[in-house]
Amino acid sequence: MKLYRINALLLRHLYLYQRSIPRLMDIFFWPVMEIFLWGFLSLYLQQFNITGINVLTVLLGALIFWNLLNQSQHSTSIAFLEEIWERNLLNIFVSPITVAEFLISTLLLGIVRIFLIGIVMSLLVFVLYHLNFLMFGFSIIPFVLNLLLFGWALGLFTIGLILRWGTSAQILAFGITFLIQPFSAVFYPVSALPEVIRWIAYILPPSYIFEGMREVLKNGALPLHLLTVGFIVNIIYILLSLWFFWFMFCKAKQNGKLMKLD
């Protein structure tokens, strides 16, 4: 594992981001629009004095966390798609870079994106709605780490699908998180789901993170049991997605598709 090669690929993406309006919009514009939309909705709902919860905090907190997960998945899948769109996969893979280094660079890109979007969204909710995201204190670290890992696992899974079906599967790079959103207890607790489909929420790590986030907001204590279960489920997803990615990568090398992905 060579850090300079990981750094090279990371810089390649940062070069691209600094002047690409669509890419900057992906990081900043849509999440900021969501802050406006959900912020106004939360302010409206707050007038009804729903007992037991602070609507503004719960909804905006969930929204920010959800965007962190989204960014992590996007950065992984889209970093790979960029190389396909630019027909650069061959140049990358005839260099000595290893697959592990390539994947770690996408993970680091995810961290950069999460950091940027986290700062922008937190500042915005503070200025517009006087919501201090720092109220989570250090407990924010395990939450964000779990979301980052699950986003990476989803990103790897999406790349595996792209390796098999080419860019026909690229829509998933933009939308796969929305397939799991209704079952991830993002804006409502798992108990709000119909009983017959709750099991789906229990096998998805984000549901533990979002339940945990609401616990922190309600009781102020870090729900270690939820975070631990979420982390264990996450590890299983990461191992499965790594296996799936590697299987599809080897398959693409066997059938000569790696250089013909378009």
Partner: protein
């Protein structure tokens, strides 16, 4: 005197479904030679090159570069190898300098900027460095691609039609550059091209492939003599048409 082969291919086979793209191909390439891998479309040249670069997994057979197997020593081997193709471009949405710096860093070049500037001067592309890659012409892009291919000062250079779609002047300059690289650095070059005059001028040896097998092997002079033709173009036609 026995020469050490830099590339050794033994009984290489690649089957895609019901199609055998490369059928029990064996050859070796000596250090510091320019070898042309020629043949009609679908002969198996690109598949062979992609297997050498570990982009395609062979069905069977063995590939050794610098005496080591590519599947077990990929990282070590690819550090000393590079590739350029007329059909593969660097990312269009980066500046030329950014692209070259990225690849210089990927190959672990100690002072990437110094290396990029030195090669840019050698290939006469210094003025393009601050430009977007998308703004360059085909000929300019080819020179940038070749610059990228030499960033790590490779011992082995694989070139897929490096002069395709270049005007005669730039194509000639490119050939001179290849001969200079070979002379100055002793670089081993494996080369595919459909330009037979170029092959005759540049290659020390030619390997002909057709329908996945090697059909002939020798120096351009030997092959011209063997087939009783006036140049390599006629030799190509004779071999491709099985005459």
């Amino acid at each position: 005197m026995k020469h050490t082969p830099i590339i050794e291919i033994k009984k290489l086979v690649k089957v895609f479904g019901s199609v055998t793209a490369v059928d029990c191909v064996s050859f070796s390439i000596e250090k510091g030679k320019i070898t042309g891998l020629l043949g009609p479309n679908g002969a198996g040249k690109t598949t062979t090159i992609q297997m050498i670069l570990d982009l395609i997994t062979p069905t069977s057979g063995e590939i050794k570069i610098f005496g080591k197997k590519i599947e077990t020593h990929r990282e070590e081997i690819l550090n000393r190898v590079n590739f350029s193709s007329a059909y593969i471009m660097l990312p269009y949405n980066l500046k030329v300098k950014e692209n070259l710096l990225t690849f210089a860093r990927l190959y672990g070049i100690k002072n990437p900027l110094k290396r990029v500037l030195a090669l840019a001067e050698f290939f006469d592309i210094t003025e393009f460095l601050p430009k977007m890659t998308s703004s360059l012409s085909t000929g300019q892009l080819t020179r940038v691609n070749l610059t990228k291919a030499l960033l790590n000062n490779p011992d082995v250079l694989l070139l897929d039609e490096p002069t395709a779609s270049l005007d005669p002047d730039i194509a000639d300059k490119t050939r001179r550059l290849l001969l200079e690289i070979k002379k100055e650095h002793g670089t081993t070059i494996l080369y595919t091209s459909h330009n037979m005059a170029e092959v005759e001028e540049v290659c020390d040896r030619v390997i002909f492939m057709n329908k996945g097998v090697i059909t002939d092997d020798g120096t351009p002079e030997q092959l011209i003599k063997k087939y009783g033709k006036k140049d390599m173009n006629d030799v190509f036609l004779a071999i491709a048409r099985g005459k």
